[in-house]
């Protein structure tokens, strides 16, 4: 129900916004929404592809609705008062200025509302923290300014590579993203995305070798700092095959905006094929795409 209202609100808002923005958009950024990444004029979270991300979106919608109702309540009263209780319409000021009963009521009511909202949040925290029984474990290492992926456990164990932004994107950026029309995945294209199987519990262990980075993929509902000298873990289970985009979201130096995260979710068969291909490359010794991270 909540999603319904939210969706209707969003679509009602979208049209005037599109008009407004079309009017503003003097530049010719002929881009389209990027499935698995940011959409044009998106008003809400990216479409979730994990159970956790779905619950996050649900909780966010719930909060939005509660906040909107309280907002309308408070400002309804206030604007009524502004309208009716003006000196210019001859309203005389009342003299009341305290009431213990009212104060107690409006302390307890928000308290109860807030605690009620925090309960589903509690359940979700516990669920998101449970990284046990993973099918696949990948270590993610932050570097200034790229990501290293090491498949530690599960199908594909031993695969390791670095993931760097497509240098073409960086060149576009440097010249002001002018010239050739920029692609829909501008700034979100990497040489070697993280590849994982669909419907499998993937545990991500983060760390860093220099400064703090943060590994985030909104559609998967995952964001975790990568901290030098420490390991941290999170997990996701992607329910749909596809490519999902994210970013480094902790300021890590000058190229911070240019170390995107790309996660490719494959069907079981395709994943097995991909693993076989990577192992072959490893065996052949021509690790064109598999610079071992461990040597760093």
């Amino acid at each position: 129900m909540i999603n319904n209202i939210q969706a209707r609100l969003a679509s009602a808002l979208r049209f005037p916004l599109i008009l407004l923005c079309a009017w503003f958009s003097v530049s010719a950024w002929a881009v389209n929404s990027l499935p698995g990444g940011p959409a044009l004029l998106e008003l809400n979270l990216q479409p979730p592809v994990t159970a956790i991300a779905r619950d996050q979106a649900w909780l966010n919608d719930l909060l939005m609705i509660v906040c909107t109702v309280v907002f309308i309540g408070v400002f309804g009263v206030m604007f009524y008062s502004i309208w009716k209780h003006r000196k210019s319409v001859g309203h005389k000021a009342a003299t009341f200025h305290e009431s213990v009963a009212i104060e107690i009521t409006w302390t307890i009511v928000p308290f109860v509302i807030i605690v009620l909202m925090a309960f589903p949040a509690t359940k979700l925290i516990v669920a998101a923290k449970d990284t046990t029984n993973a099918d696949l474990t990948v270590k993610v290492t932050g570097y200034q300014w790229k990501w290293g992926y090491d498949y530690l456990n599960g199908e594909g164990q031993g695969i390791a590579f670095l993931s760097t932004i497509n240098p073409k994107m960086r060149e576009f950026a440097a010249v002001g993203a002018r010239g050739a029309p920029i692609p829909d995945n501008y700034l979100l294209d990497v040489d070697h995305p993280l590849v994982v199987p669909v419907n499998k519990k993937v545990r991500i262990i983060t760390t860093s070798v220099d400064v703090i980075h943060s590994w985030a993929v909104p559609a998967l509902g995952v964001r975790q700092d990568a901290i030098p000298g420490f390991v941290r873990d999170v997990w996701f289970r992607a329910e749909k095959v596809g490519t999902y985009y994210g970013d480094c979201t902790e300021l890590c130096g000058k190229e911070h905006a240019f170390m995107p995260v790309v996660v490719k979710v494959l069907s079981d068969d395709d994943y097995t094929k991909w693993v076989a291909g990577e192992h072959q490359k490893l065996a052949a010794g021509s690790n064109a795409s598999s610079a071992p991270v461990a040597s760093k």
């Binding site: 940011p38 979270l45 906040c67 925090a118 979201t249 905006a257």
Partner: protein
């Protein structure tokens, strides 16, 4: 016979000047010990910093108008965001509140001056070298720090020498803040006129009393964090350097133990201001005075146990996340109580909407939006989606730029007749309000959408799908910046020059408090002998 009594009833007449020894010319300002002069200097300093920090924001928004790097390279972009944040927080908002306190606290409690007049001079003048060292970072090898205002280690260990000058600048500003806070506390606790009981004090004094304690508690914590950064950088320690067994997360714990109370340092005085302006223009007493005092105290105390809500993404135990989530949402309760009390104060009042009241109502509006986004961010699972995105940028600009700044605008329009002796031009004030209010929301509301859709903050460049809302935000931001230029030239400057209608002693029909018992402009010395107050402690009776 007190000078104040002499002036009862004939506002505007400066009393017989037996204080001709007051220094004149440049000495009046450099050696200033008068709380009014020092207050004026604080406010001018803060406004200057607001314009400098604001200019940086304008450049940032220009860079973000389109995808790609047009004006800045990423290093410069990061330097600008860092300096913008530091300048606005430590240079603009905090000193401005101290400026208001300097002007108004002695007037409101019936004291002749601040308790430590010379320390007051020092705490102001320390700000000048501090600001020079901060801004001077741009001209040092390697440029200004590019760490963000939070100065997280170990990134801070990679910065050039400007990081060190920033650290010293923070030490100096911290010392200045602590002196200012001590001065305010001692003034309020020791120099109140007889009969001015604590629970009769104006809300502005109450909010500042509590804020001053927060300052004394947390500025040393920040000093500790940056000093450890300094020794890590130069003296071989490794508090935060993991390569030598240090702990980068410890920096964040220390920083936010300062940082969260700090954000309340920047809003509690605003609560006090609004609690004075609303009753004045509703012509009705503040609803729930006692609960307002308790709410501020509750917020201040709670603000010490919520800091790790800035760190949900660092990875902490479930129990830790739950603790910080619950304490944070708890803060929303006393905050809500305040909003309800303001609404109840307006309810069945007899309201007029001069510029101070417009800004006060505008304050409530934007503050509530910022409070709600804070509540959303406080829910740890949702914060996984929103941390490090533009949603956070929207949140803190709603509570800081809009709320804290609007409260100060409200107070400026409210008290400037007392300061300058002339009335501001009401039409210019109203234009300033509507222009600021609308452009602010155009600039910052779309940032909620950008954050929800996943645009990270502190990015010099962004995926092209985010272009539209960024363009709206940039246009709004430039208009907002322009509104403040208008404010300076069409409101502040005429007042400084003394242009305008002569201000009566009590320009606002519903205004209460001792500041309205002295003429406009307030004479150089006020309340030299303690005034005798009526039982409500709002009137001088002898």
């Amino acid at each position: 016979m007190s000078a104040v009594l002499d002036n009862q009833g004939h506002g505007g007449q400066v009393h017989d000047d037996h204080h001709a020894h007051a220094p004149t010319g440049w000495r009046r300002w450099v050696f200033a010990t008068n709380h009014k002069d020092i207050g004026t200097m604080y406010l001018l300093f803060a406004f200057t910093m607001l314009i400098i920090g604001g200019a940086m924001a304008m450049v940032i928004r220009a860079e973000l108008f389109e995808p790609g790097l047009q004006l800045l390279n990423p290093e410069m972009f990061n330097q600008l965001t860092t300096m913008h944040g530091l300048i606005m927080i430590f240079g603009a908002i905090m000193p401005a509140f101290v400026g208001f306190a300097n002007w108004m606290v002695p007037l409101q409690v019936g004291a002749p001056d601040m308790a430590f007049a010379r320390m007051n001079n020092l705490s102001f003048w320390l700000l000048i070298p501090a600001a020079l060292m901060l801004i001077g970072g741009f001209f040092m090898p390697g440029g200004a720090p590019a760490t963000g205002w939070t100065m997280y280690a170990p990134l801070s260990l990679q910065m050039g020498m400007a990081m060190d000058s920033t650290i010293f600048s923070i030490h100096i500003m911290g010392a200045s803040s602590i002196m200012g806070a001590i001065n305010i506390i001692v003034t309020i606790l020791n120099l109140r006129a007889p009969g001015m009981k604590l629970m009769k004090m104006p809300m502005f004094c109450w909010s500042w009393l509590i804020t001053a304690y927060l300052l004394i508690a947390v500025m040393p914590v920040l000093a500790g964090a940056v000093t450890m950064t300094l020794t890590d950088r130069h003296f071989g320690t490794s508090f935060f350097n993991a390569a030598n067994g240090g702990d980068p997360i410890m920096y964040q714990h220390i920083f936010w133990f300062f940082g969260h109370p700090e954000v309340y340092i920047m809003i509690l005085p605003a609560f006090g201001m609004i609690s004075q302006v609303i009753p004045a223009f509703a012509r009705k007493k503040l609803f729930g005075y006692t609960s307002m005092v308790y709410a501020i105290a509750a917020i201040a105390i709670l603000s010490f146990i919520v800091w790790a809500h800035h760190m949900f993404i660092t990875g902490m135990p479930v129990t830790g996340e739950l603790f910080f989530m619950f304490t944070t949402v708890l803060i929303a309760v006393p905050t809500a109580v305040k909003v309800f009390n303001w609404t109840a104060t307006m309810w069945r009042g007899s309201m007029t909407f001069e510029t101070p009241m417009l800004f006060a109502v505008g304050f409530i509006f934007v503050f509530v939006i910022g409070g709600f986004s804070g509540l959303v961010l406080a829910m740890a699972p949702v914060d996984i989606q929103l941390h490090g995105t533009y949603y956070v940028v929207a949140h803190f600009h709603y509570v800081l730029v809009a709320a804290a700044l609007f409260a100060m605008f409200a107070s400026f329009y409210y008290w400037s007749p007392k300061w300058t002796g002339v009335m501001y031009n009401e039409m210019h004030g109203k234009i300033h309000f509507w222009w600021s209010m609308i452009s602010f929301n155009v600039a910052f509301f779309p940032m909620h959408f950008l954050g929800l859709a996943g645009m990270p903050r502190r990015y010099a460049d962004y995926p092209a799908q985010f272009t539209d809302f960024n363009q709206v935000a940039s246009i709004g931001a430039w208009l907002f910046g322009l509104a403040q230029v208008y404010f300076f030239f069409w409101v502040v400057l005429p007042l400084l020059r003394g242009h305008g209608e002569k201000a009566p002693q009590r320009p606002w029909e519903g205004a209460e408090g001792l500041e309205w018992e002295v003429p406009s402009p307030a004479p150089f010395h006020t309340f030299e002998t303690p005034p005798k107050l009526d039982p409500t402690a709002t009137r001088v009776i002898g």
